[in-house]
């Protein structure tokens, strides 16, 4: 009697499983037959009422039926999954959904790169006025008014703007104007890195009226020319690559003595000599040992301390690196240009 009930239940379940056409109905069938209060469990409750010799057989039969129904459910589920996979399709080559795309200016990137190199040598960044007095830009740097050396710095003057003590107001034409300000602010040892906007009255492919310079200043006891050479060579190799060489040659600035011009091996011909360089070398900046008068003007005793300074344009090296022919592109705000970097 109970045996027949079990078999009927099995057939009923399998029949229903075969007929369904929606995956979610499988769970209903599972509940109906195998759930806690499902049909099979109802029959299980009958077992204690049976004769002891029958109990084991019927128990086995129920377990077997349970397995059969479960298998049927699994197979049905598997069938649905396979069908579903056949329908679903993902074009993995379609473009991804990007986060918003922004761009930093090339000059910002260059400043970061340069700062990181010098910070590794213990230099600290400083920032000083762009609108500056003549004293800091010229007079205090050993360049009196009417000195021919001033010609190089084609200076913008500000109208009706003068300080009794510090002279005329100008737009600083070089970062060297930060030297005396740094000395007024800190006592040696000094390792300054001043990266700033500078201004000169000139405009052509390689000169913009506004540009960036960076200036290093080291003042301590026993600082010598070899230290200057070593620092510049370290920068050259870090910034331009380990195969680059640097050298210094005699030059003249009023605020350093001796003064040097800094050359690095040409980026284009690797030092072999080409149209853009001078026999394999490119001039990239100026440097020198801080003039004792400048130390004095900064309140530092030149008998106790010595120092060196160097500086050059940020854009020039950028232009070489990216093959940009006109420096003025950097400041024109053409988004087609800015969005390339």
């Amino acid at each position: 009697m109970i045996k027949a009930q079990i078999t009927n239940l099995k057939n009923e379940a399998i029949g229903e499983i075969l007929e369904i056409n929606e995956e979610k109905t499988l769970e209903e069938i599972r509940a109906k037959f195998l759930g806690r209060s499902g049909k099979l469990n109802q029959l299980t409750k009958e077992i204690p009422k049976l004769a002891p010799e029958e109990r084991k057989n019927i128990g086995n039969l129920i377990s077997e039926t349970k397995r059969t129904i479960e298998d049927a459910l699994w197979q049905a589920k598997d069938k649905f999954r396979k069908e579903k996979n056949k329908e679903e399709w993902l074009d993995v080559t379609a473009p991804g959904i990007k986060p918003p795309e922004g761009h930093l200016h090339l000059v910002t990137e260059a400043i970061r790169e340069i700062s990181a190199i010098f910070e590794g040598l213990g230099f600290q960044r400083s920032r000083y006025p762009e609108v500056e007095w003549d004293w800091y830009a010229f007079e205090g740097l050993n360049m009196a008014e009417n000195h021919p050396a001033r010609d190089v710095w084609e200076t913008f003057f500000i109208e009706d703007f003068e300080n009794e003590k510090y002279g005329k107001g100008i737009l600083t034409p070089h970062t060297s104007s930060g030297q005396l300000r740094e000395m007024e602010k800190y006592r040696p040892p000094i390792r300054m890195l001043n990266i700033a906007k500078c201004y000169r009255r000139q405009s052509d492919m390689s000169h913009a009226p506004m540009f960036y310079q960076f200036e290093g200043l080291v003042i301590d006891k026993n600082i010598n020319i070899s230290h200057l050479k070593g620092t510049i060579d370290y920068f050259t190799k870090q910034y331009f690559g380990p195969d680059r060489k640097s050298r210094i040659r005699p030059y003249h600035f009023q605020f350093t003595e001796p003064s040097f011009e800094v050359d690095v091996t040409c980026l284009i011909c690797q030092g072999k000599g080409c149209r853009t360089c001078k026999q394999g070398w490119m001039e990239i900046g100026g440097s020198g040992m801080v003039h004792p008068l400048v130390l004095k003007n900064g309140g530092i005793d030149p008998n106790l301390y010595s120092g060196f300074a160097f500086g050059w344009g940020v854009e020039r090296v950028l232009m070489m690196k990216y093959g940009i022919e006109d420096i003025r592109l950097l400041f024109e705000g053409d988004l087609r240009f800015l969005k390339q970097f």
Binding site: D160, R201, H252, D334
Partner: protein, 672 residues
């Protein structure tokens, strides 16, 4: 300043086996930079940049003198040869010339000599070629002599037609107001006051001294008697005149850098020789030589200790002596390691201090022979200025939020100021602008950004920012209030997008407490109805708003523009990397949504604030839906100590409803 000189000419004064290429290399490394060598016929021409401190090198002979010191250090024998000259004999009958110098400072040394029997003709070929290799046109033998010797010895000179000088009389004086001169090139030039000039017996100005001679006294084809002038002038006066006239000649470029008065005699004797040889001329006067204050010899102490401490290696005293002497210095041993050094007259202007002697020794020894060493790090006094790291962080955030950084000129045009409703008088102005577009120092970055938006009209949605100084004036003798701004601009109605940028950026800077003021403040350029100020600790750190329509029209911008304009100074003063740790609650929050209907135009900011203030158990209040005047808030209640039950939340909810009703006349519409 660059000079061009011929190799063959150089070798008239220096005997060496070094090739032109070797000369270029060693001269560049140890003295003046040779930028180029060009082959011209069988000769070579060096293009050399001479630094302003070395006018003694602005000549063939000066460079030969340098090479005599440099070449032996790089393994070449080199012998400096003398300059061929004529001896100046007394003449029996001297042609007259009366000279009066009004102010001796104008002309430290004045020499002149008259030649008779001068035959004007072309110069010898070699001479003409050398002059032309140096970029100067060969004219005739007399004029060429002055140019040839300027190049050879660095001493500019001038020749007059003696017969054109009225009364054989010259007065050297300062020009007076209103005077002018027609110079040799046929140009009439007004004479700035204080310019050094010469007038003749008739009171005519016949020479713009040190710059260019007068047309009225020039040597021409029929000249028979020549007055030769070899002088030095006050460099500052020459320079001022050149600047005032925007006119500079080869001679003036030399005089303004300083010409050695001690070299005048040699140049005069050398010129006399050439007048005899090239023009068949005869000396027809005594030498006039007015030289009241010859400079004293300069002596400087040299210490080997100083040298070694400055170059970083030890250079032997015998090497030092050899280098200095080859350069024309004389040395006398004071102690074992110190010297008394006498400066040669041609270096009197640029050698002043012991450091100058160190340079002389070090450059000839060779900078390339010094090691590369890093300066020892003894200690660091400077503390890192955190501003730079914050600026970098802000720029990075904006980049990754989709903004493009721009970099525009700090100087703007008058037109731009007017378009932006700004007043020129509130700006510092450049006295000598280069172009009309770069005249005023800006006091805001917004117009520059608007210009970019206008110029890039074809781009669809523009999001840009710039971080740069502005320069509001603070009086005529005080530097401007130069301070850093961060200005962000986006095309379109982007008020809440840029507000979101501010709300994301401030917490990135560790600033949690900030508020936005209510609208209706009048700010330049911004639309009064769409503007708010951002306050941190009650202080304004910037504004957010839409650019008013009139300004957009003036800039020719078709879309709306929203800007966020921040003051970095006060913002970074409040910035902090410090974060507060709060333990997370072990008990889940209970979340419910409350809807209210408000009277029209109720500001939602204060509503949210009021809800938050009801209880510390209210952890979060978000505005999740707005429809007409209905606002739905999602409120999270959470306790650190226990699971909250509805019994505990009920009074909080009632309090919220009561408070919003009392403060904002809000009607509760639903609780979910």
């Amino acid at each position: 300043m660059n000079i061009l000189i011929s190799d063959s000419w150089l070798r008239e004064f220096i005997e060496t086996k070094a090739t032109p290429e070797q000369i270029r290399e060693s001269l560049s490394l140890c003295s003046q930079s040779v930028e180029k060598i060009t082959k011209v016929g069988r000769d070579f021409v060096y293009d050399i940049e001479i630094t302003t401190n070395r006018p003694d090198c602005l000549s063939v002979y000066g460079l030969a003198r340098e090479l005599a010191a440099i070449l032996p250090r790089v393994g070449f024998q080199a012998k400096l040869k003398g300059v061929p000259v004529a001896t100046l004999n007394k003449v029996t009958r001297s042609l007259p010339l009366q000279v009066k110098i009004n102010n001796q400072n104008l002309c430290p040394r004045f020499t002149s000599l008259i030649f008779d029997n001068v035959q004007i003709k072309p110069s010898p070929d070699l001479v003409a070629k050398r002059i032309e290799n140096s970029g100067i046109r060969s004219l005739n033998n007399v004029i060429d002599i002055s140019n040839y010797l300027m190049l050879e010895l660095g001493q500019p000179m001038h020749t007059f037609d003696y017969d054109k000088i009225s009364g054989a009389k010259m007065i050297l004086r300062e020009a007076r107001e209103g005077e002018e001169i027609e110079t040799l090139d046929g140009q009439k030039r007004p004479l700035p006051e204080g310019t050094i000039v010469i007038e003749d017996g008739k009171g005519r100005v016949i020479d713009l001294c040190g710059i260019m001679g007068g047309k009225n006294s020039e040597v021409d084809e029929s000249t028979k008697r020549v007055l030769l002038f070899v002088q030095t002038y006050d460099p500052v006066r020459i320079r001022r005149t050149c600047q005032a006239l925007s006119f500079r000649t080869e001679a003036a470029s030399r005089f303004e850098k300083g010409v050695d008065p001690e070299g005048v005699g040699l140049a005069m004797k050398r010129a006399t020789l050439l007048f005899k040889e090239w023009c068949g001329a005869r000396v027809a006067s005594h030498l006039t030589d007015i030289y009241p204050h010859p400079p004293k010899e300069k002596k400087i102490s040299f210490s080997q200790e100083k040298l070694n401490s400055m170059v970083g290696v030890e250079i032997k005293i015998s090497v030092v002596k050899e280098i200095l002497e080859n350069l024309g210095f004389t040395t006398k041993a004071k102690t074992k390691n110190t010297l008394k050094v006498t400066v040669p007259h041609w270096r009197a202007d640029d050698i002043d201090i012991p450091e100058d002697l160190v340079e002389e020794v070090a450059r000839i020894y060779g900078y390339h022979n010094l090691p590369n060493a890093l300066p020892p790090l003894t200690s660091l006094n400077q503390t890192k200025n955190p501003v730079f790291a914050w600026e970098d962080k802000i720029k990075n955030a904006l980049k990754f939020w989709g903004f493009t950084e721009t970099l525009t000129y700090s100087l703007v045009s008058q037109e731009m100021l007017l378009m932006a409703d700004l007043k020129t008088k509130d700006h510092l102005k450049i006295a000598n602008p280069l172009t009309k577009t770069l005249v005023y120092l800006r006091t805001t970055l917004i117009p520059s950004l608007l210009q970019i938006l206008a110029n890039n009209a074809t781009e669809e949605s523009i999001k840009i920012f710039e971080m740069a100084n502005i320069y509001p004036p603070q009086g005529k003798d005080q530097l401007p209030d130069e301070r850093m701004k961060l200005s962000i601009a986006a095309s379109g109605e982007q008020f809440f997008q840029l507000k979101g940028i501010a709300e994301a950026l401030l917490p990135e800077l560790g600033i949690a407490d900030y508020e936005f003021s209510e609208a209706n403040i009048s700010l330049p350029m911004l639309d009064k109805t769409k503007v708010t100020q951002i306050l941190v600790n009650g202080q304004s750190v910037g504004v957010l708003g839409g650019i008013n329509q009139e300004i957009l029209d003036r800039f020719g911008i078709k879309s709306l523009v929203t800007v966020l304009d921040l003051e970095l100074g006060p913002l970074l003063k409040s910035a902090s990397g410090h974060k507060k740790y709060l333990p997370a609650s072990k008990y889940p929050p209970i979340i419910e949504d409350l809807s209210f209907e408000f009277p029209a135009r109720t500001l939602v900011g204060p509503v949210i604030q009021s809800v938050k203030e009801v209880s510390s158990l209210i952890k979060k209040v978000d505005l999740i839906d707005s429809y007409e005047n209905t606002r739905t808030f999602r409120i999270a209640y959470q306790s650190l100590d226990k699971n909250l039950t509805d019994k505990e939340i009920k009074p909080l909810r009632e309090k919220i409803i009561k408070r919003l009703s009392a403060r904002f006349q809000a009607q509760v519409k639903g609780v979910l």
